[in-house]
Symmetry: C2
Subunit: 432 residues, 2 copies
Amino acid sequence: MSLNKLSAVEIATQVAAGTITCEQVARDCIARMQQREPVLRAWSYVDPDLILRQAKALDARTVRGPMHGVPVGVKDIIDTVDMPTEMGSPIYAGYRPQSDASCVALLRAAGALIFGKTVTCEFAGATPGITTNPHDPARTPGGSSSGSGAAVADFMVPLAFGTQTGGSVQRPSSYCGIVGYKPSYGLINPQGVRPAAESLDTVGLMARTVEDVELSARVLTAGAPVAWLPGEARVRVGLCRTFAWDKAEAATRDAIEDAARRLSTAGFAVKNIELPASCSDLPLTRETINDYERARAMSFEWQTHRAQLSEGLARTIGKGLTIPQARYIDALNLVERCRRDVAPLFERVDVLLTPTVNGEAPLGLSHTGDHGFQSIWTQLRLPAITLPTHAGPNGMPVGLQLIGPLYEDRALLAAAQLIFRALGRGPVIHAA
Amino acid sequence: MSLNKLSAVEIATQVAAGTITCEQVARDCIARMQQREPVLRAWSYVDPDLILRQAKALDARTVRGPMHGVPVGVKDIIDTVDMPTEMGSPIYAGYRPQSDASCVALLRAAGALIFGKTVTCEFAGATPGITTNPHDPARTPGGSSSGSGAAVADFMVPLAFGTQTGGSVQRPSSYCGIVGYKPSYGLINPQGVRPAAESLDTVGLMARTVEDVELSARVLTAGAPVAWLPGEARVRVGLCRTFAWDKAEAATRDAIEDAARRLSTAGFAVKNIELPASCSDLPLTRETINDYERARAMSFEWQTHRAQLSEGLARTIGKGLTIPQARYIDALNLVERCRRDVAPLFERVDVLLTPTVNGEAPLGLSHTGDHGFQSIWTQLRLPAITLPTHAGPNGMPVGLQLIGPLYEDRALLAAAQLIFRALGRGPVIHAA
């Protein structure tokens, strides 16, 4: 097997055992990237020489980290000291930050190899980059962490950073057929990540296995290793259709119901859970909070580079600047109330099971899809994980989403691993 | 009167009326700065030519903003596109950011003149810069917003940005004898401000009047103008000694008791309010949260520039890296519980009255003072304002602190203005 197919845990284990070298891994990932990048366009910056220099330096090191030799993609709104950080915007063409973001520095310190920068929507918003879906180049990979989703799904790297303000980790993970993890708000330190809407922005991880998410999250947060659950553990699953259920395509609704049925058969305790009524306003609060904060986070670009902003982003900023403080505060207070209303649901279940996104990746590259099913949980600040368990009518991946209680990320990962084992990976079109 | 003595509101009003020019204001502020800077050392970067170019450009503009011509100092962890941002650290000597921080861009767009960068403690932490207290150069101005406090108190600028993670706006405001405003967490957008401990960091404003704080906060947040209260408004004041009361110097305790007495005599409804028992752990949670987050926010510098960090900061980072995720999460959960426990106090009172800091600015420049009385409120995320109403045994300023309910910043400012009028400015040593 080519080493680019290995998981992060496998790479770390085999490098530690001395059975493979960081350079061998890097060379296979580079080969895969060079083969497929003309179609995928997942990378805004990738330099094989720089990758190989890093790999050789890692092989030469006597002190070894827990992620030694693991290649990692970094969404291009996250600062890197040795590569440009262009934010998906011509305003930052060629921009070289002074330092690595916290999450990059922490993984580097653990021995990870920073492979390159992945294509992002403009400032992690809605205006897409040029990346295509690895399962069908006529379709969007989702966004805004578009390149991260495509590169991981296509076996260029086992792991990549994304960020989520609405659904920017979960949606591309579902569309590309990988595991997407959006932690509890704030759990992965956001220093050095370009803010979009500060009170929602969350650094997330995209991988092909739950174990890879666990390893990197543990390194980033000094977490104790997750105790994986035995097959007979009776995890309580709440099927939560949410008020957006009718917007899901029939095949997606079927996939979620199918998952609930099969989990029940497999011995999981499955019950229906409804979101509190207060949560039905979350689409409105999301728009208010996102636009108000984003308009301010983009003040400099708005004042000095307005002509270089996309029409869509300029419209959002213009709108955000007209929102009065009082309306913003009303939205913050309402979301806080929703957080309090939702917390008790987790006395009855361990995880919620809910759609990740309406359906398969849509055709075309002009729109990265709808955040309705993802931004609920981003606003609630709850940890979320997407698993690639199903396929849609066109054979494209359809994920399901699991949600845990605030800060119970490790328990969510344990439950997710068990559920993923029970349901298996979805039968999707295979990348070339 | 020299124009550098004017408030921001007065400058904006008179510039708008055409009775003074931005250049005249700038020249008087520059003159004051040049006269006093050799003793105060408040600025890490200030360039009279750049100031005058800005002033002339503002005078030439036909479109006028609500803060046209108001000189503003900017703490040197806040990005500015036309000046270095050195973070109080040799690691960032000469560093020029690519853009203005959100708060800088928003004030510039309102016509403010960015006067220069003010001295900060190293990365807004505890290791002091070289600034002296404007009332006694043998004493600290407080920190970490040291230069902002000194420059405003000394009439170099009417307004400056500070940031607060523990007590970095409130403490220097008390020590320097000015008005310090730490908004509700998140209300002033932090994009472009170097994070210290993300879940606590708050951008604040330092000025000589409550009205100046109100004007700039309104511009930054699209707030409606505050409706100032008539003299007969019966504001309910809760005298809150906190569990740190015994650490306050006798003169500070006397000052707070005196304020409560005089407010009562003046017709305010004053009662005693005790903090809930849960809050007694806030000093511990503060240390855990600060150290855990700061260690991660400083990952890059820790990995690559460790020798250029001060001993104190290196010790904090080293300590923070050993804190397990579980202990960090316990601290977050405890603070969240405190927030919920404290909220109902504001059914009984409109504002809490409490010490800002133990006492006068201590002698010496090696330590910027204790954050005990400030970090309670930073953690609770409540809006806080310090007023320079008293003096200590050495004639140095002693402030009092008013706290309002979350997001009720405008009501807090209105109450603070009324209370400041009732108590008057403290009789402090005058700057030269």
